[in-house]
């Protein structure tokens, strides 16, 4: 009995819903839609427009076409053709009328003849994009600077471990350096983003996004390179100095701290800053993980996705990278000259990067 009542209520409700949705539908305009093929051609081209994708709550009874975009509509069927007598860009307007006498318009553009020649390189596009690119460059610098700073302590630890006489330290360091330097940075970025990030977010409740994931990959990567730089710096100090220091009664730690490391630090300054320049360029790899807000290359690619100015934007992106790296290399060359140890290492070249 109860079930029967429910069924009746359900049927009534459905009927009501249907009726109301029909009522709504009657108050709606049809939707005019059409395709035109081809979208460009010459004076001998027959343009075919097809409005079969138009639809409406009520059947469509009339298709009118305005081929020249000048307001003169010609009634034709669902499909209409036209040939132009003059070259130019035309807007085709379709007006559909349904059984309720409601209308809707749709527009498509076609090109007849050669389009106005586009300038080869529009400086305006590059100029307009500059503020966005510079904002991206700031994020690039932020990413690279944080990576090098966070990577340095790690690199020093691995580097010291690498030259240690104890295999417990030197072996893991050798494996670390080999693995990290032997795999592409892009792969490390993807692993960091797709595997490490969800893991640490789940385990520690962090909120890592693409930025943090990219930063993590860069820190790990640069620390391995820095470890090698530091190892080379330490080993470049003649071994006689260590022997002499030990002979004078210093411990290994004291010899490292007061004799080897201060000299090594000045030796490693050039390759270390070079690593920073490399890192600035390498941060562009985060486009693979769609980082937003985007860094320099990412900013350029988002602009291109809307404006399609590939030439101007990629040239602009390259220019900004060049300005960053060039400026940095000049500063570094200056520092190198100041802190050089006479007779140790090579003199800083006066040239470019």
């Amino acid at each position: 009995m109860r079930r029967g009542l429910l069924a009746v209520v359900a049927v009534l409700a459905t009927a009501l819903l249907l009726a109301s949705s029909l009522g709504l539908a009657q108050g709606q305009d049809p939707i005019a839609r059409f395709n035109v093929n081809p979208t460009a051609g010459g004076l001998d081209t027959v343009f075919v427009a097809n409005a079969s994708s138009s639809r409406g709550p009520a059947p469509i009874v009339k298709y009118e076409w305005d081929w020249e975009g000048d307001g003169t509509f010609i009634e034709a069927g669902q499909e209409a053709t036209h040939q132009y007598t003059e070259e130019g860009r035309y807007e085709i307007v379709l007006r559909v009328t349904d059984a309720n006498n409601r209308t809707d318009d749709a527009r498509r553009s076609v090109q007849v003849g050669e389009a106005a020649a586009q300038p080869a390189f529009e400086w305006d596009s590059l100029w307009d994009a500059m503020p966005t690119l510079l904002r991206g460059a700031l994020i690039t610098l932020q990413l690279a600077a944080l990576s090098i700073l966070l990577g340095l302590p790690l690199g020093i630890l691995w580097g010291l471990a690498r030259v240690s006489h104890f295999k417990v330290f030197s072996w893991p360091a050798a494996v670390y350096v080999t693995v990290i330097r032997g795999t592409p940075l892009l792969v490390q970025v993807l692993i960091s983003f797709l595997i490490v990030r969800p893991y640490v977010n789940d385990t520690f409740g962090f909120e890592w996004d693409a930025f943090e994931a990219g930063l993590f990959a860069f820190v790990i990567n640069t620390s391995a390179y820095q470890a090698e730089i530091i190892r080379a710096g330490i080993q470049a100090i003649p071994s006689g100095q260590m022997e002499a220091a030990l002979g004078m009664g210093m411990t290994y730690r004291q010899a490292m701290r007061f004799v080897i490391v201060p000299q090594a630090f000045r030796l490693i300054l050039p390759p270390l800053t070079n690593e920073f320049i490399v890192l600035i360029k390498d941060t562009s790899l985060v486009v693979a993980i769609g980082m937003t807000p985007p860094e320099l290359l990412g900013s350029g690619r988002f602009i291109i996705s809307r404006t399609q100015d590939i030439l101007e934007i990629y040239v602009g992106v390259a220019l900004v990278y060049l300005v960053l790296t060039f400026t940095l290399s000049r500063i570094i060359a200056h520092l190198e000259k100041r802190y050089r140890i006479p007779g140790l290492g090579i003199e800083a070249p006066g040239g470019l990067v």
Binding site: S109, F204, F206, P294, R306
Partner: protein, 254 residues
């Protein structure tokens, strides 16, 4: 970046070197199920469907607007994230995003690892070629160089249906389309709306013809979250009934 995020990177680094972890406070303010917020991932390099504006960090497009309307009906707040096309399914399955709104065609293969809402739009593939190429049908594509976005239904079509084609897979649509402009490829196969948008901005290329695949686009949701699927379907029904969906389609000329 907030300082505690920076600290969190440091923290993991310290762990990685095996040194003392210290007593870090866990932030623990992840998006949980009851915060009524949808995080939506989108490969936003796809006008007019999804576009990202890096100048102010906003998203626009048909999918984006529709998703906003759905969230409004469901009484959720919504946050959009740009995610590369390849990474979208991974992001969905590991819970970093709740929904994919990225012109994703509902296919059996994709349904195996994610849920889909009801279709909200039917899309055809289209072929874009150089203005003077003379290519007007599928047969003429045989043996040609074809650009696609890797892993899209356009990629599947080019790979499976065009014999002898050399398929170049790009990681986003603008790169594929621009390869045509520079002459690196002979044709681009992709959903019709972005192709029409691209050709309208670029007089050197035309949308030559469509391939009537009639593919349903749907929003993807993590496997098993049927509650969300049902809620979104209800919202979609309502938006279809009150004319919002049609209005958005007109707005984007779809």
């Amino acid at each position: 970046m907030q300082p505690n995020r920076l600290l969190s990177v440091l923290f993991v680094l310290v762990l990685a070197t095996g040194a003392l972890a210290g007593c870090m406070n866990q932030t623990g303010n992840q998006n949980t199920g009851n915060t009524k917020k949808l995080i939506v991932g989108s490969d936003a390099t796809f006008p007019p469907m999804e576009v990202y504006h890096e100048s102010n960090g906003t998203f626009t497009g048909f999918d984006i607007d529709l998703m906003r309307e759905i969230a409004r009906v469901m009484n959720y707040t919504v946050e959009f994230r740009n995610v590369g096309w390849d990474a979208l399914p991974v992001e969905l399955s590991n819970g970093n995003i709740d929904v994919i709104a990225s012109s994703m065609t509902i296919t059996d293969e994709r349904k195996a690892d994610r849920e889909f809402t009801e279709p909200y739009y039917l899309v055809d593939q289209s072929v874009m070629v150089g203005k003077d190429s003379g290519i007007t049908n599928v047969q003429q594509l045989q043996g040609k160089r074809i650009a696609v976005q890797g892993g899209t239904t356009g990629d599947l079509y080019a790979t499976n249906n065009i014999s002898g084609a050399q398929v170049n897979r790009f990681d986003d649509y603008p790169s594929a389309a621009n390869a045509l402009v520079t002459g690196a490829v002979d044709a681009v196969i992709m959903d019709r709306p972005p192709q029409v948008f691209f050709a309208s901005e670029n007089p050197s290329v035309v949308v030559a013809f469509d391939i009537d695949t009639n593919e349903p686009l749907g929003f993807a949701i993590k496997k098993g979250r049927l509650d969300l699927v049902n809620q979104m379907n209800d919202a979609l029904d309502q938006l279809r009934a009150d004319g919002t969906l049609d209005r958005l389609r007109q707005k984007y000329d779809l």
